[in-house]
Symmetry: D2
Subunit: 109 residues, 4 copies
């Protein structure tokens, strides 16, 4: 993925928000609520078990990701950097030897 | 952002999952549940109003993003492509003229 | 269930909140966020599939119910009345003949 | 609230589910997912800040409560008993002296 592409996405999202004067609604709290709301709509694709509508999943996942990118931008966070930083923390919580093949939470290991 | 960086993130996530033999738990449904669970933990940073712990928000947002990337990968979706596709749909639902400065949902416009 | 019991629960919840001076945090919005947060913790009992910890489910379900009762009380709503009112609406959306044995959403019937 | 009323609600919910042959979809996991999904719809009433549609809140709260009652029934739990049991645990975590007027989580007290 090229650098132009990621800057294009953030640029398009910021322009989309700006031309509709929606920054006023995008407090960090409202964006966090929006992530939860969209996560619920994504989960609804799986409500009764089997995934049947892959287009719906794609759209709902896009909504979650969009609000995540807007929240990261609002807080001055780099989405990729925060993922890598958290991965280091998670590596330490789940050493391979103890966690291989097990879904147990780290405080139970 | 360079191409090596995004490939590094996906590569690290896949390796992290693989060496712990956790693919078995990563059905699309379980990943969708995980996104909701982590979205709730992110929202908890704002439960009683003011954001006070920005490090916590960074970590929880990272968890949501991580599961989003894992779900996209599991379903063969490109996270950036789905965001851009959905943005086109949202542009049509919220014409600038009707939606400027208004937080009303599209079916009320 | 006797009348004394339901009044006892509401009474205990109101006293619990009052003696800690927590009404100030219990705006309808904060209570709605809390319901989502606790719903995520309940869902976490089922994150990787099988339910193994029934005591945990009991506690998390209690948390969701508690915040629901607090929100209903805050808005002057009777929890049982709203459930019955919504059931009537749902009966109309899902006629038995069309919906028997099917998990399809009403707008697809 | 009389005993007939609470039994009427559970009775109506069970009949509503039975006549549509929906018990097959009501695994504890699916009900827990449904609670999260409906909690997100309730939160959507507060997405951009002010509550404006009290009827919508009433309906969404009813949906969360309905699925909570169905999950409690499915697991053989008494909703009121679990709330009271959890309240005792919460009293111990949040002694009045330490928690009065403070929204801090118990592990920070």
């Amino acid at each position: 993925m090229s650098q132009e592409r990621i800057e294009r996405i953030l640029g398009e999202l910021r322009e989309f928000v700006r031309e509709r004067e929606w920054e006023q609604f995008h407090s960090p709290e409202n964006l966090a609520k929006s992530i939860s709301i969209e996560a619920g709509e994504l989960l609804e694709c799986f409500q009764w078990g089997q995934l049947e509508d892959t287009a719906a999943v794609s759209h709902e996942l896009a909504d979650v990701l969009t609000y995540c990118l807007l929240l990261a931008d609002r807080l001055g966070l780099d989405p990729h950097a925060v993922v890598l930083e958290k991965l280091e923390i998670t590596r330490a919580k789940y050493p391979v030897g103890l966690s291989r093949g097990r879904s147990i939470k780290h405080d139970q290991l």
